[in-house]
Amino acid sequence: MGSTVYLGLPLMAILALLQTAVFPRFPILNIMPQLILLAALAWGLLRGVTEGVVWAFIGGFMLDMFTIAPMGLSAVSYMTAVFTVVFLQESLPSSRFFAPLIMAGIGTIIVALTYQITARLLGYPLILQTFIHLPQTILINMILMLPIYWSMSSLYNRLRPRRVHL
C-alpha cells in the first residue's frame, strides 16, 4: 500500500488544484465536478476499501486546505462515501461500465449527506441549495466517472503487471 500513498499525494494535490482553481472558471451546468471523490472511488473499486479510504483521506485533506470550512470535513465525507460504496460494490455483480457509474451516483449522495450532517453538527447552517443541485452533481460525476475509472485502471495495470504462471 505504501507506493499508492506516494502516488496518491501528488495526484490528489493536482486534483485539488483543478477543483478549486480551474473548474470554477468553467462550471458545467453551474456545478463543479468532484474529481477527488471520483479518483478515490475509482481507486477503491480497483484496489479495495483500505486504499480507497486512504486516498479519500489524502484528497479530502488536500481539498480542505482550500476551504475556510473546518479542516477534515471533506476528508470525513469522502472517506464515508468511499467506504460505503466499496463495501456495497462487493455485494453487486462486477462490471467495468455500470458498477463505476452507479457507485459514482451513490458516492455523490453519501458525500452530500455526510458533509451537511457533519457541518450541521459543527454549528454550520443547513444549506439546502446543495440538495437542489444534487441531481446535476450526480449526473456530472457519473459522466466523469468512466474516464477517471478507466484511467485509474490503466494506471493500476502499469503499476502492477499481471503475474504470469509458467
Partner: protein, 286 residues
C-alpha cells in the same frame, strides 16, 4: 452620259449622302435633337434585347458553369478565411474591451476614495465547500495583507481577509452565513445588520426599526459601526422588503452589488485600522 459614268455617279452620290446623313445625325444627336427619334427605334430594340438576354442567360450560365463554380468556390473560401480572421480579431477586441472596462471600473473605484490604500489582488481559487463562501487571492503576508482587512471590488464590498499565507490569502465573502456587517440604507438612512445567506440564498439586513419606510432599489452601504469595515462602501441594493406591523423590526433582502461567481480582481484595503471591540463582548479581554 454613258451608263458607266451614271453608275459611278450614283455610287459616289450614295456615299456622300450617307456620309452627310451620318454627320447630320451626329450633329443633331450631339445637340440632343434626336432623342425622340432614337427612342422610337431604341424601345423595341431594348425590349427584344431584354427578351433575348433573359432567354440566353441560363444557357450561358450552364455553358460557363464549371468555370464560374470553381471561381465562386475559390472566392467563397477566400471570403471565409477573411471572415474567420475578422471574427478572431473581433473576439480579441472584445477581450481587450472587457479588460479595459474592468481596469477602468477599478480605476474609478480607486479614484473615488483616494485616501484608502489598497492592494490589488487576483482571484486564484474558490472554496470547494458547499457550506461556506470564500475565495483565494494571490496576495498574502508578503504584500502587507493581514487577517481582518476589508476587501472590496470595483462594484462594492467583497468580504474580509480570513487567513493569509506568505503569498496568498483567503477571503470570507459577505454572502457567507457567518458574515454579519453593520449597514446603512442609502435614502431612508435606516441601519441594520447584514447577514449572509450562503450559497444561492439572498443576504438579509435584519433589525431595522419599523419607523423607517424602506424602498426596493435602495442602496445598501457599510455604516462603519463596529469598526470592522470603512463606512460608505456599497454592498448592494434592496430587492425585497419584509415588513410586518406586528413585529418589532423589519428586514430587507439584498441583491449584492458584486457578482461573486465572476470575480477576477479585488482590492484589499490595507490602511484601515479596525477597532478592537472584543473588550465589549469577551469578559476575559480586560
Amino acid at each position: 452620259m454613258n451608263p458607266d459614268d451614271l453608275q459611278k455617279n450614283i455610287k459616289w452620290g450614295t456615299i456622300v449622302v450617307l456620309a452627310v446623313i451620318a454627320i447630320l445625325f451626329s450633329v443633331l444627336d450631339r445637340s440632343n435633337n434626336l432623342g425622340r427619334f432614337f427612342d422610337f427605334v431604341r424601345n423595341p430594340l431594348t425590349a427584344v434585347s431584354s427578351i433575348t438576354t433573359s432567354s440566353i442567360d441560363p444557357v450561358a450560365d450552364i455553358a460557363n458553369a464549371p468555370l464560374t463554380l470553381s471561381s465562386a468556390r475559390a472566392e467563397i473560401e477566400e471570403l471565409q478565411a477573411r471572415v474567420d480572421t475578422l471574427e478572431r480579431e473581433n473576439e480579441e477586441l472584445h477581450e481587450i474591451e472587457s479588460a479595459f472596462n474592468l481596469l477602468q471600473s477599478l480605476f474609478n473605484r480607486a479614484s473615488q476614495a483616494p485616501n484608502i490604500e489598497r492592494v490589488m489582488a487576483n482571484v486564484i481559487g474558490r472554496d470547494p465547500s458547499a457550506v461556506v463562501q470564500s475565495i483565494i487571492i494571490d496576495r498574502g503576508k508578503g504584500d502587507e495583507v493581514q487577517v481582518g482587512m476589508p476587501v472590496e471590488a470595483a462594484r462594492g464590498l467583497v468580504g474580509q481577509m480570513f487567513r493569509t499565507t506568505n503569498d496568498a490569502g483567503q477571503i470570507v465573502l459577505i454572502s457567507d452565513t457567518a458574515s454579519s456587517i453593520p449597514v446603512r440604507l442609502g435614502s431612508s438612512r435606516a441601519t441594520g445588520l447584514l447577514r449572509g445567506g450562503g450559497q444561492g440564498v439572498p443576504m438579509i439586513v435584519d433589525w431595522i426599526d419599523l419607523k423607517y419606510r424602506l424602498e426596493v432599489g435602495e442602496v445598501v452601504l457599510t455604516s462603519g459601526l463596529g469598526g470592522k469595515f470603512p463606512e460608505d462602501i456599497v454592498v448592494g441594493r434592496v430587492s425585497e422588503v419584509d415588513r410586518n406591523e406586528a413585529k418589532l423590526f423589519q428586514r430587507a433582502f439584498v441583491q449584492p452589488a458584486v457578482d461573486f461567481s465572476a470575480l477576477e480582481m479585488v482590492f484589499v484595503i490595507i490602511n484601515f485600522e479596525s477597532v478592537d471591540s472584543d473588550i465589549f463582548t469577551d469578559p476575559s479581554v480586560r
